[in-house]
Amino acid sequence: MKPDRDSMLERIRKSLQSAYLPAAREAIPPRPWPTLQPALGLGALADSFTREAAALGVTVHRPESEAQATEAVLAVLRESGGNEILAWADSDLAVRGLGEAIRAAGFTRLDPTVPRDPAPHREKLAELGRAVVGVTGALGGLADTGTLALLTGPTRSRMASVLPPIHIALLPLSRIYSTMAAFFTLQSHLVGSGSNLVFITGPSRTADIELTLTIGVHGPKAIHIVLIP
């Protein structure tokens, strides 16, 4: 491996001596406009987030209490018509007692752990593919685009937000950031603490056939975001 690395880097170094590029070797200066906008209050951020997400076809729920939040989640679960769901651990869901309420309502949470060996790996994925709803928390939200940020971890699977046709995400209001840049400024140390950080901006979609917008290709076609006060 090493010789390939060295020879490729060496070729680049040699080319850089004659490169026809503007002088840009100096460090990039800080951006001239503010990254963080402390002037925006939580309410304004939540409103912007709600507006942007709704424009993309996301259903945003704004319950006033934890009981209402639980009820909103259960309503979506009941409406799905199915029984098996993929969910993150109770401690990731930002609403006390939600996990218990889901169990009490009779929904089965599939064990999300996918074995690493080929045959059981395939079997497990087939099982997870049956889930009708995925329930997750969120590391953050981006107000300017209506985006959810989800980070994987020991109790936070990737599949819960991509495999089922419906995705419910619980997002505490306090985790809404004005922009992705603001999010990175405050949370960049978390990138890499899990193998996967995904920004989700609206339901899965395509326009590959004559640019006709079609919702729900490989990912969820319905997203419910429950903003927790």
Binding site: L9, L125, V162, G192, A207, G219
Partner: protein, 478 residues
């Protein structure tokens, strides 16, 4: 005009009426979407300037950022492979597949894999490859190549796609994109859940963290990089940014330029393989750094083309692409960016016509999110092509003749009188719609304005006699 393969492809494209309908719909729609996308961006011009600066800075220190990136990937548990050319890149993927007993590979969209013809290499090794981006899936079923960087199947009408899916998947004939999409989803879901290996491209690699960023709308990229046991990502060595903050700038312009979205639906940031305690995700992450001519380009006057973020905006804006579509270029990368990148990567000799397929109008430079000066490089390539003796005969002979005539006023006047006299019977309503060969090369697909009844020089002389003001010349010259 010469009868080259390129001209034949152009000929074919220009006479394909359903291609015309598709191109017209798509390029005009993309143009509107892009416009609206940037309207929603505060400081849009400053953001684009900064995006350009980030690309320029990164490339000017590419060796150190690439080394930093590779170290960060390895620190996060990923494996880095260095591939000098397409054979090396394909070799890495095929070897990995064999070594790990992978029989089925599911692919997310990757232009680099088109460049290396990875599918062919995998299939030759007896491995099944399935494209998972809907557009890529459609053209894979049709046995074609992408005609647009971000919408690979836009050359097809929905009726054509419906017919194709009917034949290949056995679904009822339909012209409803929603039904076709649902059929493809069902088919591909099976593939995602059973594939042994996922192969994806990379939009940006972050040197600071060893993160690879992949943007997409369908969720196929997310599944390709999450469901199979092994994830292999192919990445051009130039696709780096120094930090996450720089990444956020690039993402602000990428989706807006491509589809007008503020952000693509899925912006996947992958840092290393599945952690020991995580419930899912590939246990193996391999990143193949592909050079394939890029380090050479870096040392030339075409280095700026390496800024490109593959948004496809220059395709939609280009009056030539709008007429001929992507396939006529004959190269993996079509449109203005392809007309520079292809000869830059593969040499001018087989591709000397691509830099000519442009009116140098500058629309590409105008829409480019990182303001790449494509027209300048097209001229560089025309120059290179001329030096290499690749100028077509008619131009080689024609230009000196034209120069000889045009620099001798009396001769020029005689020639234009002659031309007016010869073409007058061919003109109708002020336009020449048919000329004899070799001039038919122009009029087969375009009209040429008929020569004015009185030459400009005559009109000018009359004005002078009447003592008219200079400002009015242009208004009366037609």
């Amino acid at each position: 005009m010469s009868d080259t393969a390129f001209n034949k492809r152009v000929e074919l494209a220009l006479s394909d009426s359903s291609l015309h309908i598709a191109l017209e719909r798509v390029t005009s729609r993309f143009t509107t979407l892009r416009h609206n996308g940037f309207a929603s961006l505060p400081h849009a011009d400053e953001v684009r300037d900064r995006a350009r600066l980030i690309r320029a800075h990164t490339l000017s220190r590419l060796d150190s950022y690439l080394a930093q990136f590779a170290n960060s990937v390895e620190a996060a548990g990923g494996r880095v492979h260095w591939a000098a050319d397409t054979a090396a890149a394909n070799g890495v993927v095929v070897e990995l597949a064999k070594e790990r007993g992978a029989k089925t590979v599911v692919k997310g969209k990757s232009m680099v894999s088109e460049e290396t013809h990875l599918n062919r290499a995998l299939e030759a090794a007896g491995i099944t490859v399935v494209e998972s981006d809907l557009g890529e899936y459609i053209i894979q079923l049709a046995g074609e190549t992408p005609s647009h960087i971000i919408a690979p199947a836009i050359h097809k009408t929905k009726e054509q796609v419906g017919q194709l899916l009917h034949e290949k998947l056995g679904i009822p004939l339909t012209d409803d994109p929603a039904q076709m999409t649902a059929a493809a989803r069902a088919k591909l879901r099976e593939v995602f859940l059973t594939a042994d290996m996922g192969v994806s491209g990379v939009n940006f690699g972050v040197a600071q963290t060893g993160t690879i960023c992949l943007v997409e709308n369908e969720g196929n990229g997310r599944l390709t990089t999450s469901a199979p046991r092994i994830h292999v990502a192919l990445m051009g060595i130039e696709r780096l940014v120094p930090t996450l903050d720089d990444l956020s700038i690039m993402l602000q312009v990428l989706a807006r330029s491509a589809t007008g979205q503020k952000l693509s639906v899925y912006t996947n940031l992958i840092t290393g393989p599945r952690r020991r305690e995580e419930p899912d995700g590939p246990g193996d992450l391999h990143i193949v750094l592909v050079d394939n001519g890029r380090s050479r380009i870096l040392g030339t006057r075409l280095a700026e083309i390496l800024y490109c973020v593959r948004c496809g905006a220059c395709l939609n804006a280009c009056p030539v692409y709008q007429q001929i579509g992507g396939h006529a270029y004959g190269s993996v990368y079509p449109g203005p960016v392809g007309a520079v990148l292809t000869p830059a990567l593969e040499g001018i000799d087989p591709w000397s016509e691509l830099p000519q397929a442009s009116s140098l109008c500058g629309a590409c430079r105008e829409v480019c999110p990182v303001r790449i000066d494509i027209p300048r490089m097209l001229l560089e390539l025309r120059d290179e092509s001329h030096r290499a003796g690749l100028t077509p005969l008619w131009l080689k002979v024609g230009l000196p003749i034209y120069r000889f005539v045009a620099t001798r006023p009396a001769l020029f006047k005689l020639a234009s009188t002659l031309a007016r006299w010869v073409t007058r019977p061919l003109a109708s309503q002020g336009w020449l719609t048919r000329l004899p060969p070799p001039l038919s090369g122009w009029t087969d697909h375009r009209d040429f304005p008929a020569l004015a009844a009185r030459p400009f020089s005559d009109q000018l002389r009359d004005k002078h006699r009447k003592g008219a003001k200079t400002q009015s010349y242009t208004k009366t010259s037609s």
